[in-house]
């Protein structure tokens, strides 16, 4: 049995309409002795940008000399990337050992019928990350919520600090029917022992909901603090590009709050600057070379019109010209927006061979269509020297795998190995 079987088994075997079970995950936490793990936790919730925030928070904390375990989802090239120690993905052996522990403990749980649901893969990776943090004597645990807050497995680990990225109407019907319900669920990750909450600017509606929820959950002790753009004082050149800038600043602010409440000192500039300069998040406006060719790609996991607009603007800023766009958007994503945004560009639409994703919507006649399995390096090179790759994380992950992008290391910790330099358009 591979490690993937352990993490995905119950999800794969789920019945139609069956939901993930938080109570089953809670039982597994208790079974594994994780309920009293004494590691400060920073949790990120929100609709988009949690991964960027978690990465920058981890980088900032690592620059402070702390051992940081980071759990994010999804992965690009390997599930090892979901759990990282000081920015570096765990090894296959470590993942196998974690899977063995999870498998052993999960085997002692009552049958799934008792909990009316399955253990979600994202939740199991979160648990594995906590086990890894405990085993490695980590100083800090940075968790990215998979979906929601109160309804997510991250709520099983009381956070000292919570960072909230922008919350908008997503997963309606799964988390709640209205944006208020979504916001309420996200704020549900905060508990009475939480020391600080920082948030990206929210719409007034969401802000009112989360403020009231936080006040209720902490008896009025806590108020969320808005992280305004550039309020951290970190130079712009050290933050993420594009829309992610706000999320990177949120991550740094959350990390600063954690250092304050745990009475650690903040990193000095000479340690922090190289760490932040080394941050490279694959698939987030990341530049790569196609091995053995002169083709360069800009990869971004944009799934709506705004994200695609950013990717095209950044690419044109770097190259002055874009030769070709590779796009992969299933039917439930913002395909109409993408069609307008890419109106004057040469586009190849890529279909993924996943049963749960539909690719039946009409496309412009001028677009070519290929299956993801047909993508090769030579094919990428034939499309031109400057390619923009946008679409779902799974698709971008495939392309990153194709070009053998480095996804092992998100940043260089002060005592870590240097991150291989990424090709960068100027």
């Amino acid at each position: 049995m591979t490690s993937d079987d352990v993490f995905f088994r119950e999800w794969r075997d789920r019945s139609p309409g069956e939901q993930r079970s938080l109570s089953r995950a809670r039982a597994l936490v208790a079974q594994s002795g994780l309920h009293d793990v004494d590691i400060p936790v920073v949790t990120f919730v929100g609709s988009k940008g949690k991964g960027t925030a978690a990465t920058y928070a981890s980088a900032y904390l690592a620059a402070s000399g702390l051992r940081v375990v980071t759990v994010t989802s999804p992965s690009y090239r390997s599930n090892r990337e979901r759990i990282r120690l000081s920015g570096k993905a765990i090894t296959a052996d470590e993942l196998n050992k974690l899977a063995a522990v999870i498998d052993q403990q999960a085997g002692r749980l009552p049958a799934r019928a008792a909990h009316e649901g399955y253990l979600s893969p994202v939740g199991l990776f979160t648990l594995a990350g906590v086990i890894h943090a405990r085993d490695k004597d980590a100083d800090v645990l940075v968790l990215e919520a998979g979906r929601g807050g109160h309804s997510d497995e991250v709520s099983l680990f009381p956070p000292a600090v919570v960072g909230m990225t922008s919350i908008f109407a997503e997963h309606l019907g799964q988390i709640g029917r209205w944006i208020d319900a979504v916001a309420l669920d996200k704020a549900g990750s905060i508990v009475d022992t939480t020391r600080s909450v920082v948030s990206s600017p929210q719409t007034p509606e969401v802000w009112r909901t989360i403020s009231a929820a936080i006040a209720a959950r902490t008896n009025g002790r806590l108020e969320p603090a808005v992280v305004a753009p550039l309020s951290s004082g970190i130079p712009l050149s050290l933050l993420a590009t594009g829309i992610s800038q706000m999320n990177s600043e949120l991550g740094i602010s959350a990390a600063q709050r954690l250092l304050d409440v745990t009475t650690h000192s903040r990193p000095r500039a000479r340690e922090l600057i190289p760490v932040l300069q080394s941050v490279s998040i694959p698939g987030r406006l990341s530049w790569h070379a196609v091995p053995g060719t002169s083709t360069e790609i800009l990869a971004d996991s944009a799934i709506n019109r705004a994200g695609i607009a950013v990717a095209i603007t950044v690419a044109q800023g770097g190259w002055h010209q874009v030769d070709h766009v590779l796009l992969c958007l299933p039917d439930h994503k913002d395909l109409p927006g993408a069609i307008v945004e890419l109106a004057d560009m040469t586009v190849t639409f890529v279909r993924l061979p996943h049963d749960h994703l539909r690719f039946d919507r009409g496309l412009p006649d001028s677009w070519d269509t290929v299956d993801a399995d047909d993508l090769t390096r030579d094919m990428l090179a034939d499309l031109g020297p400057r390619l923009v790759v946008v679409g779902t994380v799974y698709f971008v992950g495939r392309v990153l795998d194709l070009v053998q992008a480095d996804t092992e290391c998100l940043f260089t910790s002060p005592d870590g190995d240097p991150t291989p330099a990424q090709p960068r358009a100027t």
């Binding site: 808005v226 004082g233 130079p235 050149s237 607009a309 950013v310 800023g317 945004e341």
Partner: protein, 410 residues
């Protein structure tokens, strides 16, 4: 023709857009809107002072660039990354003589130079409305006497103090108060925030450019009286002095948006040498000022403002500021100056009305005294002139603001 002088071409970037004129964009001051995603990708702050050039006529004007993601963008038929919305006021300032229409090619030139911030050394004596720049940076960025600084959407026009020390090369020196006004947070050693910096826009002849140009030509009589007024103002200001203070603008008190009034912190009036109800100049940049009646600010706080003033992502647009650094400025005054809702402006008293007011207050006793003396005593002309001058000096002496000097009072 408008140009932003820049010896270093990398400090100014240009992007070509097409206009979207499906709905008129109404803005008091020349403004263009880009989609928020484009703003983020270009690394632009709100209210970055830029120029646009109409592709057909080649005409240019100065505009504020603002990002938003209003629902109107959802139906935009052209790609967001290539679309610009030009306000009616900006289109008027371009002066093409044609109505704005969609699909018109427009080139946006925006400043891109960012410099890390340093504090001011005591011996540098950089004033609150000044910044310190190394001489080489001044030349490299093509900066004249004035510069526009922007941090997180708060623009300020400052005079430039040229510095020679090599320690200042590649940095901008900002006094603590200016940093407070711009909302620049404190920093760890070696990790400095960066401000966007650009030369103040000038005409081809090098004259400072008005962002909100007067669209009508004044009559000959108006030009003459204007010149006389300016000359009188300079003379009287030189005689009686008019210290200025730098403040950040906030929304006008409800009901005063159209009035030519500003509300200042009450404790500032003695420092400015004026009193509530008197006129002041509100200035932003060189030769760009508006006259307003100064009133004292109440004790209200931000919490007293109605909720609807906090809209969407503007919630965290600018950091909160202590009340002593704020001035409430109405829309009419902002439109005259051509500045956005949040900006750093200078305020100083207007001297001529003060003199007139003073003379007006004492006209009856002085005239009576003069007539009485004239009727009783036969005076020589020179004695009369000296007497009148002495009376005038005594009358106006209380209006003169004492200059702060470095001598210790004995």
């Amino acid at each position: 023709m408008t140009v932003i002088k820049a010896a270093d071409s990398s400090s100014i970037r240009t992007v070509e857009f097409v206009t979207d004129a499906r709905q008129p964009l109404m803005a008091q001051v020349p403004t263009v809107h880009l989609h928020s995603s484009t703003m983020a990708a270009l690394g632009l702050s709100d209210f970055t002072l830029s120029t646009i050039q109409d592709g057909e006529s080649g005409r240019t004007c100065t505009v504020w660039v603002v990002g938003n993601s209003e629902p109107l963008w959802d139906d935009c038929p052209t790609p967001w990354h290539r679309t610009i919305r030009v306000s009616a006021s900006a289109w008027r300032a371009l002066g093409t003589g044609q109505p704005v229409r969609s699909g018109r090619s427009t080139v946006l030139s925006y400043p891109a130079a960012r410099l890390p911030v340093k504090g001011v050394l005591a011996e540098q004596l950089i004033a609150d409305d000044e910044i310190g720049l190394h001489y080489d940076d001044v030349v490299r960025l093509g900066i004249g006497q004035w510069v526009v600084v922007n941090y997180n959407g708060v623009p300020a026009a400052c005079r430039v103090r040229r510095l020679r020390s090599s320690a200042d090369l590649g940095f901008v020196r900002l006094p603590l108060y200016t940093r407070t006004l711009l909302g620049i947070p404190s920093w760890s050693p070696g990790l400095r925030p960066e401000v966007l910096i650009a030369a103040f826009p000038v005409t081809e002849r090098g004259a400072p450019l008005l962002i909100a140009p007067v669209l009508w030509k004044p009559a000959r009589a108006q030009r003459i009286t204007g010149t006389i007024g300016t000359f009188t103002d300079r003379i009287t200001t030189w005689m009686l002095r008019a210290p200025s203070t730098v403040l950040r603008t906030v929304e006008a008190t409800p009901g005063e948006d159209q009035g030519l009034t500003v509300r200042l912190p009450a404790e500032l009036f003695p420092l400015l040498g004026t009193s509530p109800g008197r006129q002041v100049y509100v200035e932003w940049g060189p030769r760009n000022r508006s006259i307003a009646t100064a009133l004292a600010m109440g004790q209200e706080t931000e919490h007293d403002l109605p909720d609807f003033q906090i809209v969407g992502d503007r919630l965290a647009h600018a950091t909160a500021l202590p009340s002593f650094a704020q001035v409430r400025v109405g829309a009419t005054t902002r439109a005259t100056l051509g500045v956005p809702r949040i900006a750093v402006v200078s305020v100083r008293r207007r001297v001529v009305p003060l003199i007139i007011g003073r003379l007006n207050e004492l006209i009856i006793p002085v005239t009576g005294l003069s007539l009485g003396i004239a009727a009783r005593v036969h005076l020589r002309l020179w004695v009369l002139v000296i007497g009148i001058a002495a009376v005038l000096i005594l009358l106006l002496a209380p209006l003169r603001v004492r200059r702060a000097d470095l001598r210790r009072v004995r």
